[in-house]
Structure formats: structure tokens, C-alpha cells
């Protein structure tokens, strides 16, 4: 048997008449106009079967959701020994006159083994109508429930109140992310204006108490206090014994820093909680230094974990947990003092060799002390003196007290107002200057002066013919003669300029 030739078969199929005759098809085509047009309704795909199946499935799912989502009504009723049962006390609202209700022969047949029969006198206590509607409904609902199960509950349900909220919780600080950002921006600006801002690397603490605001250890009162208090109250932040606003360049925390922990709102990263513990500042890292927002969180706060809310890709932290013990003690941070002190003899010899110029290299300050006055006055190294001059110039320029940073400044740190070139500063200007001076541990007082121009700076006490303080820069008798500083140096032979000036005059 030979395989059929493909071409042969194809040729047969090609030559064979069609399965249906042409007349037959044309006859059908003639009948098409009489046929109804095909419907294009999309819902023709739905039939009774699909409708029944879909409806059943939806009903099953809905009933399952309702069943599993409804709260369980199971209640356990323990039988009560009538001998130990207390007389019931009914607490009813809105009774005009005292009434006695006799509860007698209350017997239940439906609850097997738990039938309680008792005869007691219910004592009615009248109370004032309460404003809490929820409480009224709760009492009514409980009584109805007891009736329904045909049991006598010997101790009628007492009125239940919501757990009383502590006072601190009532004044709880809950700020949004936008509010926290705005507060941080404004507080930082205020602190920078008032020279209370530590630095970007350090944190700044604003303690808001009833009668004072303490910023980084500086107590504010009067106008400055009012300014900060108004700002904080605009964010619904009231005063409190442990109420603080802590900011850094990475975060802001607003709330109560108690021994139990932090209670408030916070926003930022690399967050740390700072709180005072027995007079020392402790640091508690909530987040590790690597910037992992959640990585270092667990385990650091006990017993309750903080609530973290994501907001605008930042983190709001609210916790009432106890903080971890201190790891870093800031009190151990050392202040760097200048060690180089030149004696009076060195200074005078240098002055003689340099045409009565008191001069140093610019890197070191000259502190003039005797054995009697050592440890008194203003003691700063060269770097400190230079930065002090720079800070003072900047602040005076910002406050429009001077127009140029090349001007000679005679600053008298008298109480209560500081005098600059004979003009008293305003309260706020004085406050700002004092903040700068505090950073350098310079106290205001009578005879305390700071004299400076671009060439030098002298800060200390000028008492009679003695000077207790530090000098940095170049003092030239020729330049000083006729300057605003002439009267300051003329009376102080310790600098040697009294002679020098006379010589110069000659």
C-alpha cells in the first residue's frame, strides 16, 4: 500500500463540489432579512444559573463576615451562695422620692443547677442625674440582661465609669508632623536670635514651667519669657513641671520628660531622649547612631513599647515607657581652658622691645595675673578671645548698634543694662549679649569692661590701677592715642601705655 500523494488529495478537494450547494446558501441568505437582528446586549451573558451562583456566594461571604466580626456575647455566670450574698443596692437615676422595692420569691426554672432563690430588701440610693449618657445606658442594659437569664444577681451591677484619665493625659501633647516641623523652625530661630542656640551638633532644651522658661540652663523672665511662652502656647503647649521641647538638627521632641519616660510627640531621626536625672543630664538613645529608625528601638524602652506612626515619611514617636539607663554623662565633658599665661614681666619686656607695643602672635592670649588676683577675672585663651570678639561684633551689627565691624567698641558690663560706647542697650539687646558672655563664662558687674577693635580685645575688670582679665591682639600706643580707648588705658600703668602715651605726646 502506497502513501497517498498530498498533491493528489489537495487536487481532489479542490475539484470536488462544495459541501453545501450555492443555491442552498443563497436561499438562506434570502431568509436573513426576516430573521431578528442579533442582540448586542452585554447582559445576555447573564443567565439564571450565574445569577443564582453569584447571589449564593455573596450571601455566604457576607454572613461569614458578619458572624466572625460580631463580638462574642458569651458571659460566664457563677452561682452565688445566698448566705454570702450582700443585700442588693439599686442605684437609680431621677427618683423624686425614696422608694423601697421588695424583691421576693424570685425563682428561676430555666437555669439548671444555678437556681437562686432569695428574699431581700433592696435599698434605694438616690443620686443626682448624671451627665454621662453612656453610663445610664450601661446600667439599664445590665439590668435587662439579668432579667433575661432569669437569675438574681445578688450584687447588682455597680455603675462603671471609664478609667479616670490622669491629669497629665488630659494635657497631653499631640502635635502633627507639620506642627512639629513648624515649632522646631520657630524655636530654633528664636534661640538663634537670642544667642541661646547651642549648635547644630548639640541639642537644645526648652523647659516650660509655670513662671519661667529655661533654655539650655538659662532662665528667661520678663519680655523674653513672654515671647517663648506665646510661641509654645500657640501650639497648645502649656507649662508643666516636666514639660520640655528638645530640638537638634535631626529631630524635635515635645512632651513631658519624667522619670517614667517620655510622654509626648516627637519627629525626626537619630532620636535621643534627654532628661534630667538627679541633677545630671543623661542621654538615652532611642535610635542607634546609624540612623536606623526602628533598628535600635526594641529593648531600649521598657515595659511598654512606643507607638510609632508614619507621617510624611517621618516618624512620630509616642511612648510612656521607661527609658534606658544613661550611657553618656555630659558632665564629664571637659571644658578646654587656655594654659598659657604670660607674666607681667614678660609682657612689659615685650612691650619695651616693640616700641611699647603689647603684642602676641595672635594664637595665644595674654592673661595678666599676680599672685593675689590669680583665678579672678576673665580667663580666656587666644581662641576664646577671638571668637568672643567675633560673636560680639556680629551681634552688635545685627542689632544695628554699630554700622561697621571695624569700629572700636567700649562695652561696660554694668547692671542692669550694658553700655556700648556710652549708650545703654535695650532689655532684649542686653539679654542677647549676656547669652554670648555666658558662653565664655563672663559675668556682668561694675568695672567689668570689654574693649575691642579689629586689632585687639581686652576683657576683664578694671579696678583702680589694676586689671584682671585677658588680652588678645596687638596694642599700639600710637594707635590708641586719640582713640576711644585712650581714657581706658591712661590710668593703667600695668600696660605701660600711660608712659607710652606721654612719650608719644612728646
Amino acid at each position: 500500500m502506497r502513501a497517498k500523494d498530498t498533491s493528489y488529495l489537495i487536487e481532489i478537494a479542490k475539484q470536488a463540489p462544495t459541501e453545501l450547494a450555492k443555491q442552498e446558501v443563497l436561499g438562506f441568505i434570502k431568509t436573513i432579512p426576516t430573521l431578528p437582528p442579533p442582540s448586542n446586549n452585554w447582559f445576555q451573558n447573564f443567565n439564571l444559573n450565574s445569577i443564582i451562583m453569584t447571589t449564593t456566594a455573596i450571601a455566604l461571604v457576607t454572613s461569614a463576615v458578619i458572624y466572625f466580626s460580631s463580638p462574642s456575647e458569651d458571659k460566664v455566670f457563677e452561682p452565688i451562695d445566698p448566705s454570702t450574698a450582700n443585700p442588693p443596692s439599686l442605684v437609680l437615676d431621677s427618683l423624686e422620692s425614696p422608694t423601697l422595692i421588695m424583691l421576693s420569691n424570685i425563682q428561676t426554672d430555666t437555669v439548671k443547677g444555678e437556681i437562686v432563690t432569695t428574699e431581700e430588701t433592696a435599698q434605694i440610693s438616690i443620686i443626682e442625674p448624671t451627665e454621662e449618657e453612656g453610663s445610664q445606658e450601661q446600667v439599664v442594659a445590665t439590668i435587662q440582661q439579668t432579667t433575661n437569664v432569669n437569675r438574681l444577681n445578688a450584687t447588682l451591677p455597680k455603675r462603671r465609669f471609664d478609667t479616670p484619665q490622669p491629669e497629665a493625659a488630659m494635657n497631653k501633647i499631640e502635635l502633627t508632623g507639620a506642627e512639629l516641623r513648624s515649632l522646631k523652625k520657630k524655636v530654633t530661630r528664636y534661640m538663634k536670635d537670642d544667642k541661646l542656640y547651642e549648635s547644630d551638633a548639640m541639642f537644645n532644651t526648652v523647659e516650660f514651667k509655670e513662671n519661667a522658661i529655661i533654655i539650655n540652663g538659662t532662665t528667661l523672665r520678663g519680655e523674653v519669657y513672654a515671647k517663648y511662652a506665646q510661641l509654645l502656647q500657640s501650639f497648645d503647649i502649656g507649662p508643666g513641671p516636666d514639660r520640655r521641647v528638645v530640638t537638634s538638627n535631626k529631630f524635635i521632641q515635645v512632651g513631658d520628660f519624667t522619670s517614667k519616660g517620655f510622654n509626648g510627640s516627637a519627629l525626626g531621626r537619630d532620636m535621643e531622649i534627654y532628661f534630667l536625672d538627679s541633677g545630671q543630664i543623661s542621654i538615652n538613645s532611642l535610635f542607634d547612631r546609624s540612623g536606623d529608625k526602628l533598628g535600635g528601638l526594641n529593648g531600649l524602652i521598657t515595659p511598654s513599647k512606643p507607638k510609632i506612626e508614619e507621617m510624611d515619611s517621618d516618624i512620630i514617636l509616642k511612648t510612656e515607657g521607661r527609658l534606658k539607663d544613661s550611657e553618656v554623662n555630659i558632665s564629664q565633658i571637659e571644658r578646654i581652658f587656655g594654659n598659657d599665661r604670660k607674666t607681667e614681666r614678660d609682657n612689659t619686656s615685650k612691650a619695651k622691645s616693640d616700641h611699647r607695643k603689647l603684642f602676641d602672635s595672635g594664637k595665644e592670649a595674654v592673661s595678666i595675673y599676680t599672685k593675689e588676683n590669680e583665678g579672678k577675672g576673665i580667663d580666656l585663651n587666644g581662641k576664646g578671645m577671638r571668637t568672643l570678639k567675633k560673636d560680639l561684633y556680629r551681634q552688635l551689627t545685627q542689632d544695628n548698634i554699630i554700622s561697621s565691624k571695624k569700629a572700636g567698641i567700649r562695652m561696660f558690663l554694668d547692671q542692669p543694662r550694658i553700655l556700648v560706647n556710652g549708650n545703654p542697650l535695650s532689655e532684649q539687646q542686653t539679654f542677647r549679649i549676656e547669652r554670648i558672655l555666658d558662653r565664655y563664662d563672663i559675668k556682668t558687674g561694675v568695672n567689668v569692661k570689654i574693649l575691642f577693635n579689629p586689632d585687639f580685645i581686652i576683657a576683664g575688670e578694671f579696678i583702680q590701677d589694676k586689671f584682671f582679665g585677658s588680652v588678645q591682639g596687638s596694642l599700639d600706643s600710637k594707635k590708641l592715642r586719640g582713640s576711644v580707648f585712650e581714657q581706658d588705658f591712661a590710668k593703667f600703668p600695668i600696660f605701660g601705655f600711660s608712659d607710652g602715651m606721654r612719650l608719644g605726646n612728646n
Binding site: L9, V25, P33
Partner: protein, 172 residues
């Protein structure tokens, strides 16, 4: 009517190959023609009615295959109709053998081969119908031919072995 007149032979042969063993060709043709009649006004190029019919028949056959399983009665009905047209039984068997073998080819190859060999379309026309290009159609036809020849050879071998088994059974 006039438009269909010129299409009849080629349309019927294509539908026969499509419907063979799967559905009644009459049902297929009626479905396609009713649809074409109601959409006749929307057909832009009336001269290409045949192309439209072929595409419609193919789409309709695909949707019908999903609903309807192959039925043996359909092949008998096919044979009866051909016999009514005066076709000899041997020829009917040959045609059915061809359709059966064509049905084993990939659908695109089968379509191209049927349209080219049986219906006599040019490669360009087939490319237009299938939305392809002439090169691809040429490839499909070439591969289809080779595969069809191989299928025919295999079928012949199977028939021979089946016949030998039958003879052995009779001898024993």
C-alpha cells in the same frame, strides 16, 4: 447576493476544512452570513467580502470549538452532504483523510495551506487575511506541506500495520 456569489466556492471549502469533525458547517456558514449581512454596511471594501467572511468564519469557529466538543456524527453528515452533491465515496474518503491530516497541523499553517492550495488565494491575499507578510506565509505553506506529507506517510504505515494484524488474526 451578488457579492456572495463570487465568494461561494472558496468560502465553503474553507469552512468545510474548518468545521470538519468539530461542528456543522451549515451552522458555521449561517452564523457568519447572518453577522455579515447585518454588518454589511460597515464593511468598507465590499470587494473584499470574501476576506471578511473567512476571518469571521475563523473567529466564529474558534469560539464554537470552546463550546462544542468534536462529534462523530459531524463527519457522517459531511460525507452525506458530499454524496448528495454527487461525489464518489472514495473521493469523500480522500477528502476526509485530507481534512483529518490538515487538522493535525498548527492552525496558522493549516489556514495558510488551505487558503493557498485548496481555495487558490495568492500569498499576498493570505497575508492580508492573516495580517502577516508574504515571507511568513510562504514559510508556513512550505512547512505545512512537509508536515502534511509526513503525516500522510505515518498514517499509511499505521494503516499497513493495522491491516497486517487483521490478516494475522484471520489466519490464526
Amino acid at each position: 447576493m451578488k457579492a456572495y456569489d463570487a465568494c461561494h466556492d472558496r468560502f465553503l471549502r474553507y469552512c468545510s476544512s474548518l468545521a470538519y469533525g468539530k461542528m456543522d458547517v451549515q451552522d458555521l456558514i449561517q452564523d457568519v452570513l447572518v453577522t455579515a449581512y447585518h454588518k454589511f454596511e460597515k464593511i468598507d471594501n465590499k470587494e473584499q467580502l470574501l476576506h471578511y467572511l473567512i476571518r469571521a468564519a475563523r473567529n466564529r469557529s474558534i469560539s464554537n470549538w470552546r463550546k462544542q466538543k468534536p462529534q462523530a456524527e459531524l463527519t457522517d453528515l459531511h460525507a452525506e452532504r458530499l454524496a448528495d452533491q454527487g461525489v464518489q465515496p472514495e473521493t469523500v474518503l480522500d477528502i476526509q483523510l485530507l481534512y483529518r491530516m490538515l487538522d493535525k497541523l498548527p492552525s496558522k499553517q493549516k489556514d495558510a495551506l488551505v487558503l493557498f492550495e485548496i481555495n487558490g488565494f495568492s500569498m499576498k491575499e493570505i497575508a492580508e487575511i492573516q495580517g502577516s507578510n508574504e515571507g511568513a506565509i510562504k514559510t508556513k505553506i512550505s512547512r505545512g506541506r512537509k508536515k502534511l506529507a509526513a503525516l500522510m506517510k505515518d498514517d499509511s504505515s499505521a494503516s499497513m500495520s493495522s491491516l497486517m494484524e487483521t490478516l494475522q488474526t484471520i489466519t490464526l
